[in-house]
Symmetry: C2
Subunit: 561 residues, 2 copies
């Protein structure tokens, strides 16, 4: 096969591929493609913060490279509607007005999210269809349908005069999916035509074999539902529309009405219903406010909280804090998901609280009620075999996962030197001579989002918070009279070990502070360095007395920050 439909360009340029996030981390997926001055971006994801990112609600990639080159950024293509691929879109759109392309459900979910941002008006959201190409300057971009844990997921084939790249996005190869099938033929066609580089999902590379089909979860539901006599409360990711459909189908088949509750669950089901991705007829539904009047064996609730999120419906039920749904002996809870690393304790805690109430908890430890959305080793090898790329670039995963995908690539036959293990910010260049290498670096990193509004959190603020979090703060206010006839001090502890311990030390802290102040003042006069020096002295005293080191803040009248 010849490359009959490739772009003609009088003078070929280089294709630069620049990952701006998602390498050696979970989340923040974002990759820029640059050809002759034009930039298109694939995915714009967020990350949920670690435990030590205190007070941080979301993390997004440093968008500096894109905003600085704002006029050259022509489009953002989104592979699917998960937040680790879409979550940073609002923060990009606040800075540059760029069209966002995605499939129908993906755009539907993004549109809903953008409505929360009042400062983003009339975003350009463009729906693309699999196998339909979009031409943007010298790029021809084609979505290719894949199977994943959210519907309407696609890979993108990106053709430029310099060569062709395929970005898989998240995928598994589910040959018995619910609904949409993977477009294996289109990947094969590109494989035949010639692909220069494949950027492949690495998430499940360390898992051997094949990921199980989504259909098997439905089989499990059909097996479990008839055995349950009480209420059934199901919990999964709000975006897993197929899972919700399977749960609802099992409920209806067993004479139960479906109650959808939880904000994101209601939102997603609503969007998916409007766009015809899910079908739970009104007649088969029950509103949460009528649950109390329904017989236990006539209802099935589907809701959020499968990750033990503290404010989710399931957590509130477990803690007895939900207004209308009270868990009781005989209820069955099905947690149809796997705890994401870092959430294990929260999920276990929810499970334990439910057990305390006599609830029958059906979850990953005792039943097969979840399958992953990411392909295991054999599926990743299959993708490489279908696409037959000259170069392989493992993306989307921690280092250990990407390292394993590199090994898998070698097993399939990619030469070791053709496997590109890039870092975020690396400029991977496909040159005229068809050789590919890392040729430079752009600024990347992470930015922190806190509260409902945008606010960048300095990294040193996180350090201060960690110190405050460990041992609290002791504040000393020193007040001299005008002529230094007398100096008084009052101290206060917040978050320090205990009130008793502080009470024992308070008089000493105040006396010492006054003493140091008088000494330093007589030596040096007024100056900011005085408070620093007193602070160090008092901190040393407190550490000796208590064994711990709180933040110590000395407030003098002269201090102007």
């Amino acid at each position: 096969m010849s490359r009959g439909w490739k772009l003609r360009s009088s003078k070929k340029g280089n294709l630069n591929i620049i990952p701006l996030g998602g390498l050696s981390e979970i989340g923040l997926n974002c990759t820029a493609f640059e050809y002759k001055g034009s930039i298109i971006v694939v995915d714009m994801g967020l990350m949920f913060p670690n435990d030590n990112m205190l007070g941080v609600d979301y993390v997004i990639p440093d968008l500096d490279y894109l905003t600085k080159n704002g006029s050259r950024v022509k489009a953002v293509f989104i592979t699917h509607g998960h937040e680790d691929h879409t979550g940073a879109i609002p923060y990009l759109l606040q800075k540059i007005n760029v069209p966002v392309y995605g499939t129908c459900l993906t755009i539907g979910l993004i549109n809903k999210k953008l409505q929360e941002f009042k400062d983003i008006t009339a975003p350009k959201l463009i729906i693309v269809k699999p196998r339909e190409k979009t031409k943007i300057d010298d790029f021809i971009v084609e979505p290719i349908r894949v199977t994943h844990s959210i519907l309407d997921s696609v890979s993108y084939a990106i053709k430029t005069p310099a060569g062709t790249a395929i970005v898989t996005g998240d995928f598994k190869i589910d040959n018995s999916p619910i609904g949409q099938r993977m477009d294996l033929q289109r990947f094969s066609m590109y494989g035949d035509e010639g692909v220069d580089i494949l950027l492949s999902d690495s998430t499940n590379a360390i898992h051997g074999g094949y990921t199980q089909s989504e259909k098997l979860v439905g089989v499990a539901f059909k097996d479990i539902f008839p055995k349950i006599k009480g209420r059934i409360i199901g919990s999964t990711f709000a975006s897993n529309i197929n899972r919700i459909q399977q749960f609802a189908d099992a409920a209806v088949a067993n004479g139960r009405k479906v109650c959808i509750t939880g904000r994101s669950m209601v939102n997603n089901v609503e969007i998916a219903s409007e766009l015809k991705y899910i079908n739970i007829p009104k007649a088969n539904r029950i509103d949460v406010k009528y649950l109390d009047q329904a017989k236990d064996d006539s209802v099935a609730i589907v809701t959020t909280g499968s990750q033990g999120e503290p404010m989710s419906v399931l957590s509130r039920i477990a803690k007895d804090e939900h207004k209308t749904i009270k868990a009781k002996n005989g209820d069955a809870v099905i947690i149809s998901s796997k705890a994401i690393p870092g959430n294990e304790r929260s999920v276990a805690s929810v499970v334990n609280m439910l057990y305390e109430k006599g609830v029958n908890v059906i979850y990953e430890a005792n039943a097969f009620v979840h399958v992953s959305g990411h392909g295991s080793a054999e599926e990743l090898k299959m993708m490489i075999s279908l696409v037959r790329p000259r170069y392989l670039m493992p993306v989307h995963g921690e280092r250990r996962m990407r390292a394993r995908l590199a090994e898998l690539g070698e097993e399939v036959g990619i030469a070791k030197e053709n496997i590109i293990m890039a870092d975020n910010g690396d400029i991977v260049t496909l040159k005229n001579d068809k050789n590919m290498s890392i040729t430079g670096k752009v600024q990347t990193g992470r930015e922190f989002i806190s509260g409902k509004r945008l606010a960048n959190i300095d990294i040193n603020v996180i350090k201060q918070r960690n110190k405050l979090a460990q041992n609290g703060i002791i504040i000393v206010r020193i007040t001299p009279t005008a002529n230094l006839e007398s100096v008084t001090a009052v101290s206060k502890a917040i978050g320090f070990i205990s009130d008793n311990l502080f009470t024992d030390m308070k008089a000493d802290i105040e006396k010492r502070s006054i003493g140091r102040y008088l000494k330093l003042f007589s030596e040096r006069g007024v100056g900011n360095s005085i408070s620093m020096r007193i602070s160090k002295d008092i901190a040393k005293y407190i550490a000796k007395k208590s064994g711990v080191s709180p933040h110590v803040e000395i407030l003098l009248p002269q201090i102007k920050n």
Copy 2:
């Protein structure tokens, strides 16, 4: 068999069993046995804090019940040397002077730990041997050897005139252990004689089948070691003496010298060597300071950090912060453990950093280099079958694990009403008539330890720390002149979102504070409530401006805390 050796007592009393920790939680294992005024305690464990227990180093059970009844507490028996069974001993001994009984290695480890506490002098530590009974008032206590992930682990059979209890402690049934074998015969003998209640480990009840034998890890080491050409760095729990022995044996068999490093690893190997539980001859060892001069394929390092602990040797190697050991391409790291729930992210982070350096990481995700120390469902059923207790009390585990052990008990043939699902503090009473039930409750709970010294942390202090951790603190110092001719204010932010944002708000905060002060002062005069009211007003302003809610502290000269 008759109960020939039972105690004679003129008038039989009741046996009270009071779990003081370890039920529906991992750690804090501690159970009191009370008969005719005498109390003996089995285990005295600590717990590592959750992420939201900010600034807490250890958690111990509330020892109030034992210290209040200090004169009646005659002995503490320890099942094995893990910290979740021994860690609270120092804090008990600081309050009451009670003898501690345990097997040789267990007492060796406790003795070492107690040396860190200068205020505990001449503790009474008594070594007991399996099958040798200790009589304490009306109790006869016999240790029975079990297999677990630390040597010298025992169950205790506790005989009183009211009846017999067996506390399993942690166990697996390893029929091909390294060294000590489980005393199945002794459990059988008690089963034949009659046991009233079995308090059984529940940790792995939710895992079906059998836990693999420790010996298989040695087989894996023998398979892996010859394939590695560079240095081998092994990491496991410092207390897993058998694992360390197997690692050392594999090293020596492959012509490598063993380097033991990391404080707790060095300590434990030293104690175990002195007591002859481990044998790594001096000739087969190499000191860490000679590592650089040795060939890569002639050394194997065994060290701490298998849980990704930030200050451990392995973490420091991964972060390039270790003084002498620098990880390099070609090194192999074997992490011979499983991440404890809550540590998954830390372990993954260490693995990823090592991969970045080109280190070959061999761990649970890609090799069979660890087995659990806790028995799975079939072993737990075997224990119940051997002991044939009238009553079963699932202990040592989260609720979901204990609930599963209860089901296993029923499968083995214990009547549902004879399975006692107690909570911490419940008084479980074995009466004269041989019936058993929950008859009351004592105070239990948790105490927090922080720093190197003892210090109880108030629960509201943890709440304050969480608030400080989320959004930091803003302090305003208001200074009026004597006659209120002028009022000045200075404010300072610590751990607040960003300096820029605070700079924008600073003047407003100070102006508002002065305004509120003057208004309230003219209405109410001096009073503590003034600072509270100003604080609320300023907090509201900051929340509106910034979208987040830091702690706001107003310091007036009048405040006397």
